[in-house]
């Protein structure tokens, strides 16, 4: 069955410094979600391989976006548990999907393997993705900046852009963040020099693979309708509690 449009599964682990990315991603999802979209955020402990795979199989989302530590051939989630490797037979879970992995090095092997397995597009990093931990997670522009740029891709997909348009918006956001630390209000922040360099590295290693004309969400907001397939409706009801509970998981106070 083709992946379901307007359906997003978002993975937001919170340990091992991943809260620095996950808090920003959660904020971006909340700011950009629209009526008619089904969005499941798996946060903290719920960002485990079993729950994630169940969500993918049940919801069959057109977009999968995940934060997590990674390497050339592996993407991990909460507690650095492996979700997928480049040689796994489960790569087909991502068939027909747009996959955005905010994870180091996966563009070397895992990203191409996902495309070979049928993913329609992939965005990730071919080397180390850097971020700043000089302040508590989520509290300042400095800790949020690298992720504001990176997650513009998924934000744009939520807004109804195509994968190609979302990619352009992501690169543009990188330039905006770089200019904020180079010539903007952040230029005299004590660690502006490092933030500028981190953003340049992340932009330089950012990699897009696959098709650029996929539009996962409608351009205009569409209210939920009764024409949703029954199987999807049943799946949604089953996962409804899961989705509600996941979104409701409180973040640790920073």
């Amino acid at each position: 069955m083709p992946a379901l449009y307007d359906t997003f599964v978002i993975v937001e682990p919170m340990q091992h410094y991943l809260e620095y990315g996950s808090l920003v991603l959660h904020e971006i999802i909340q700011a950009n979600k629209r009526a008619g979209q089904t969005i499941l955020e798996l946060i903290g402990d719920t960002a485990n391989p079993e729950r994630i795979k169940t969500a993918i199989q049940t919801l069959n989302p057109i977009v999968f976006c995940g934060v997590g530590h990674g390497n050339v051939d592996i993407y991990t989630v909460e507690c650095t548990e492996t979700l997928i490797t480049a040689s796994s037979s489960e790569l087909t879970l991502f068939k027909d999907k747009v996959v955005h992995l905010n994870s180091c090095l996966t563009a070397q092997q895992l990203g191409p393997a996902l495309i070979d397995a049928g993913a329609v597009a992939y965005v990730g990093s071919k080397q180390e993705f850097w971020f700043y931990i000089g302040d508590a997670a989520g509290t300042t522009r400095a800790v949020r900046s690298p992720f504001l740029a990176e997650y513009q891709f998924t934000a744009s997909l939520l807004q109804g852009k195509t994968t190609g348009e979302a990619r352009q918006a992501q690169l543009q956001r990188y330039e905006e963040e770089i200019n904020y630390w180079l010539q903007g209000d952040g230029k005299n922040h004590p660690d502006a020099s490092e933030l500028l360099r981190i953003l340049q590295i992340n932009e330089d290693i950012s990699t897009f693979l696959g098709e650029s004309d996929i539009r996962p969400s409608q351009k205009l907001a569409v209210a939920p309708t009764l024409v949703l397939p029954l199987t999807f409706g049943a799946s949604f009801l089953i996962l409804g509690f899961l989705a509600y509970k996941s979104v409701a998981v409180p973040y640790p106070k920073s």
Partner: protein, 123 residues
């Protein structure tokens, strides 16, 4: 040159950037030479207007490393940088990677050279 200098972040004003006759000039020292209307000041102004540093590739790498040393050596020793592969660095640990020319160090040197281009291009 004065307008360019005033637009730069304060932290960038005293980092080596422009090379003339084998000598590295920071934006501040370059500005002083231009204001004195010296021969080297004219050369530096021409470099800036053409968007170049006046370096060879070797010199560029060397200047980039010097700049990174200057930036990172004065920072407090606490975890400040992390990667999405699970690595965490203090400024001095990151500097060690740069000095060792590791893959991570090379990432930062490459970024520094990009920064130098952006600094010269500020208008």
């Amino acid at each position: 040159m004065t307008r360019w200098f005033n637009k730069l972040p304060i932290a960038e004003q005293d980092l080596p950037l422009l090379i003339s006759d084998g000598i590295a000039y920071t934006p501040r020292t370059a500005l002083n030479e231009v204001l004195r209307n010296s021969a080297v000041g004219i050369k530096l102004q021409q470099l800036l207007e053409s968007g170049r540093f006046g370096t060879t590739t070797y010199e560029e790498t060397s200047v980039a490393k010097t700049r990174l040393r200057q930036i990172l050596s004065g920072k407090p020793e606490r975890p400040m940088f992390a990667t999405m592969s699970g690595k965490v660095f203090t400024p001095s640990q990151l500097l060690q990677e740069i000095e060792a020319n590791s893959e991570i160090g090379q990432q930062w040197v490459k970024s520094e050279m990009e920064t130098m281009k952006r600094i010269v291009a500020v208008r």
